[in-house]
Subunit: 350 residues, 5 copies
């Protein structure tokens, strides 16, 4: 008797005794150490159940010569195996079935075959704790990082550090997975999806950052963007365009003054040479004060650059940011539900 | 005689002599190299004590044929083993017990069995130095990082870097742990808890950062938040609402002036066209100066944006920050005491 | 019969029976476990197809003594092997060919030889998911990072973190590749090229950062740079020199005032001591106010330092940045198309 | 003859010849391949010297039957071994001693025993270059990072990155160390001490950062802190309290003006309604200008917030920073001298 | 015949036939699988050439009994070996020499010995691509990072991240190097030198950062530093002291005004109480305006703090920065040329 897929020489201790009983029963209690291999299906790793088959038949002799039977029922074998399995830490024996059949050989005879179907279930607790929960943590952090104000904090560097951590994490975890063919395990899809989402959200952050910081170099917001993004999308993501009343109060006198001052400036230029003649010196001094003050005002305004164009671009940035945040949440939810659903299905099916 | 759970062929040097004495004693000083396996219980890793059993019985012969005994007492075996153990660096032999019994076979005979119960204790010093102390260091740094002022320093990036370090650390440490079934070792729980706490505190930091930096976009603090958070929670965490006296002094004239200036501005708008007619030029210049100055003031105020709403939101942020800091400390203390307690219990019990 | 390149002793179970039939056919169903080696060509890793040869001939006996034949056709061997291959997860059996020939020995006799040519194709899915896609993600992030405004965000630190992540990633991936001679696998070229591009774009970022931040220490933009870079290159990369009209409005009065104020300042210095005598005190006060105001204005202007020289240098920086961005995209596209082309070619050819 | 602690079967080529000479000398040139184990003492790793013992005695026969001797002197054995050791790259053979003795067996007979004491010294150069020097580099960087101005540069993030690097470094280095019992090797103590120092200095940095940035929220520096820290400790660390003359000049008029302005403000409030009636319009305008200007001044002062309290807290921060820097240097020097001393001692002793 | 340094039992298939010819030639085509060891000299790794010796002699029989010869010439052996070497991916066979000699035994007889000297050259391409080029990239980035303006960008954090990346890189690469005695391989020296240069340049950056940011706390630049650093070294590194004309224009009126204002301030203090009595209210208002304005001016100046002392310290910082940059480039060039020279020498010599 030998396991058909075992190609290793039996390395267990040899026992020189064979018991022959009066009824023809022969006991040969030969211990056999079998190294067998089993096709792993890691699609649902780490929630996978592996089914292995141990086939016992005679390699040389056909049926009348060697009959194969078993002393214990499959149930007893199962119970006995469970108590004997001491070191298979990662696997839990779930079922043992057997099949006893007679098969024809190629020489017009039959031979007996005994098959054991062994199901082992991977204990997934440690993988969940060490692999799934931390990656969920990281994707949660990525989700929350949308709350970081991009104009104050370097959100892109934050996300880059997050991706760096996730990459190291992803690669170290690849050591755990056995390399098998074209069926990518679900967990690999899950982790790659997380990485893809992080990268996409990083790219979006870079875009927003560019929009918020470089908008002073941009021209006016085009009319169609203003209409579609600020008015339509803005209402969609609960960021309606500001009434800009307060702003107007500040802005109005400024522009009003601007016109006035430029008018006066041009006036001043115009009757500049004759002004000092028919004015007393105090007024002249005041005018020079006024000119200084206007320059300061222009500088201060320039520094704060709250031009309407920039405001609009910022508003566009915030709206896109929030819109993509919503899409991100949506996509994340859908894909997670899908993957968890597939996991549950595969788990129940297997 | 062979160890029952050893499936490996004896690989020690074969000795061809057997000594037969006149009293029937047979000495067969056969050296045996046994590779045995032992079920590891790593629940209390690295403070675990492993109990292994070595069972010696005859695989073939029942009692009258083979009797099993021992020459040395268990104590002598223990002492001798201790001096002989040279390379078991990580383990310390703590106890050897033996059990000598006769068991019935399935063929109406009995066979003798000699069991040795071997206890080895893991030397945990290196794990404490390399694993527990650095992770305590990191969680301490995370705890202290609450002191970083979120409005000046990028606390979220700091915490992200910390989590990155901890993740790498966590994964590298997983290499040390043998993978065993569903009983998660306490140390894994401990490290995952540390990670969870770090992530939660990072999320909290992101929230606070959002509250502090983006509060200018927010509307007024709702009444119930003001009441519950600023007044009640604020007193709880020793951050009572500021009397804002100093603030008021600055604020008051400003708002007062604001009203005045807007009133004057509207006045100025009203009799703007007629004003210059019945005024001398100095006053006109002064008015134009005043307009410039008001614009500058509005800009400066806008830049410093110390509106009451922002102040309140900041106060809410600080209060929540400190509150979560307190909860964090509380939770950390409780969970650490729990885990250390469980460790001590398991350690004493085993 | 033994595989010629197998130097290992057969480690499979020995079978003591040999069947001798009446027609002289001898069946010796000896299972053989062969450890063979095969020259790997990893140029197109992970899309490689390996061709191995198993040669069966007699090591000792020439032709009349031993004839080598096969019972199954090559196709049957192929189909049977496919069903039997359970554990070769990473490899997919694609083809088995055989060659049956007679070769002369050195002793004027011939011997028979049976060669099997076995083609196995690496299942590249997992490598694509874990290796190529993440590195494409990272290079995409590097590409997009050109959008980060270098004067507001620390783009160099961002890129450094990216390179750090890529380096760790690159090195961990080197573990996957077998070390073989001088033919660098294409994937290694691909990853090194990515790294080189990242480093070059980092160096470019450092240069731009230097140009943007330190330009206040620089002298005027030389005439030939202004002509070649700002006017010619600027139009090329769609960054034409600004008309600086708005700027002029702000700038003009400032410089005008500057001249005026310095003139007045010198005047003031000149008849400073005698002025207060023949002027009333109000005018004197106004003059002192004016001096204070001018100092503030100069400070404010200094702080905003929008000198034309700095503006020009910044413009040069932006133009070079965008130019290198274009070159980067161009080079990236060309090299990626080349590498993918070589991959496709090699893949089809093999 | 067999090495007593070798449990492996001799795997060297068997030689079938034994030379028997006329004088009874028997040559049995049996090559023996011994896998022996040796208790490692890695306390002084990587400067350790290992002493191993090879004991040759007869496992079965007592003295008259088997006599053990050697052909070469110990010195010759040592020289011959040195030339023969080709692949023990990491170890350098330093000494071979031998002991030839007769020991009583438990059966009233004696047996001969030949012991070789072999000393090998680890070649520490590579460990020094790869392990000790980089960690000294990192601790030096940590030491120098005290020079980073905490109020301008994010020193805490810098130190966190440093610790991240050191942690990865520490863990990767743990792979090099064999795991042995409770005697922590000195190098482990050294590295843990470095880590502890880095963490402590990071915590200190966080405290200082908190003190420097959040001091505006604090109340006055208590009298005892001012006395003990600023005056006593300040002189100790060569940071005496500033005379604050320049500061006073700026501060004095400000506070003086403050009083004046609040007085005037209250005056203005008081006869505000009646003032405009008996004043000409110019003065009225000037007053309104004055009010605007005062608000701007208050804002500017608020922005620069150089209140005495903040200044004092900053001073406290700087003093503590420098004090802890001094303590850090002191502790670092003492502990390094201790560890190096212990290393040298252990090295000389062994 | 057996390889003298092979202690492993031959594990190749046993062949039971020996051919005895009429002329006394005996063919024993015994396949032998030899595991031999060879002393590695990795001084010039990865450009090393290893020379191994295979010695064939009789372990037992002296010359008349066994004669050793070879059928193929050394050149044929070399060519045949080259075609047979299929799996030695990393090594390239460069030369096989042989030595046939007779040596005296210790029993007055001679024995024949056949030595093969085998030279294999490591294929260094992969190491160059994966190890040397990335580290050159990193050192180049470190070199360029001197261009980062230290007062605007956090150059120290940038360099720290770079060192972090290099450390990880360095340690992962140590896995590739075999551990051999006291001869440090050149590549290790090269990488350590890179690390040292990076650390030194980081320390320099910290110093510069301290000088640039904290210089407001410093006293005047001492005369000898000003002379030696600013004037002499400054010219050396092409950073001559600025003429500070433009600066003077701004500075001059400021200091002039400062004196005036303090004089006036003291005056104002002096006849403050009596002034308002003999002045009309407009002038009084103007004076109060003037006081406000002066305070603002002082604050603004304080904020911009362009004191001469700070300017000088900054200049010192820039000069030292550029000087060390030059020294860095110099040292880098010299050491790289040295190492490359040693590499080329060793490579040619071996």
């Amino acid at each position: 008797m030998s396991a058909s897929c075992s190609m290793e020489r039996n390395s267990a201790q040899f026992t020189p005794y064979t018991y022959v009983y009066h009824d023809g029963t022969v006991f040969d209690l030969q211990p056999v150490r079998v190294v067998s291999s089993c096709r792993l299906d890691i699609y649902t790793f780490p929630f996978d159940v592996q089914n292995c088959t141990l086939t016992f038949n005679s390699y040389l002799h056909s049926l009348p010569a060697i009959q194969i039977g078993r002393f214990m029922s499959t149930e007893e074998v199962f119970q006995y195996s469970k108590t004997m399995m001491t070191t298979m830490g990662e696997w839990e024996l779930t079922e043992i079935k057997s099949l006893h059949q007679q098969l024809p050989t190629s020489f017009n005879s039959t031979y007996e075959e005994l098959r054991f179907f062994i199901s082992v279930r991977r204990r997934s607790m440690l993988y969940v704790v060490n692999l799934l929960i931390p990656s969920c943590f990281l994707i949660t952090v990525d989700l929350f990082s949308f709350l970081l104000p991009p104009q104050k904090v370097d959100r892109s560097l934050f996300k880059m550090t997050l991706i760096l951590g996730f990459t190291v994490f992803l690669l170290l975890m690849n050591d755990l997975l056995p390399i098998t063919g074209n069926t990518i395990p679900l967990i690999s899809v899950f982790l790659s999806l997380c990485l893809a989402l992080m990268v996409v959200s990083l790219l979006e952050t870079i875009l927003i950052t560019n929009l918020l910081h470089s908008s002073t170099h941009y021209s006016e917001v085009p009319r169609w963007i203003r209409l579609s993004v600020i008015h339509i999308l803005g209402h969609l993501v609960l960021l309606p365009p500001k009434p800009t009343q307060m702003e107007q109060i500040i802005q109005n006198p400024a522009t009003l003054e601007m016109n006035a001052s430029t008018k006066r400036a041009s006036e001043g230029e115009a009757h500049g040479p004759e002004g000092p003649l028919d004015e007393d010196k105090a007024v002249e001094e005041l005018r020079s004060l006024g000119r200084d003050l206007r320059v300061i005002r222009l500088k201060v305004e320039q520094e704060l650059n709250v031009s309407q164009s920039t405001e609009d671009w910022n508003q566009v940035g915030f709206i896109i940011d929030r819109l993509l945040f919503a899409i991100y949440i949506l996509f994340l939810s859908v894909s997670f539900i899908c993957i968890i659903g597939m996991w549950v299905n595969s788990y129940n099916a297997s």
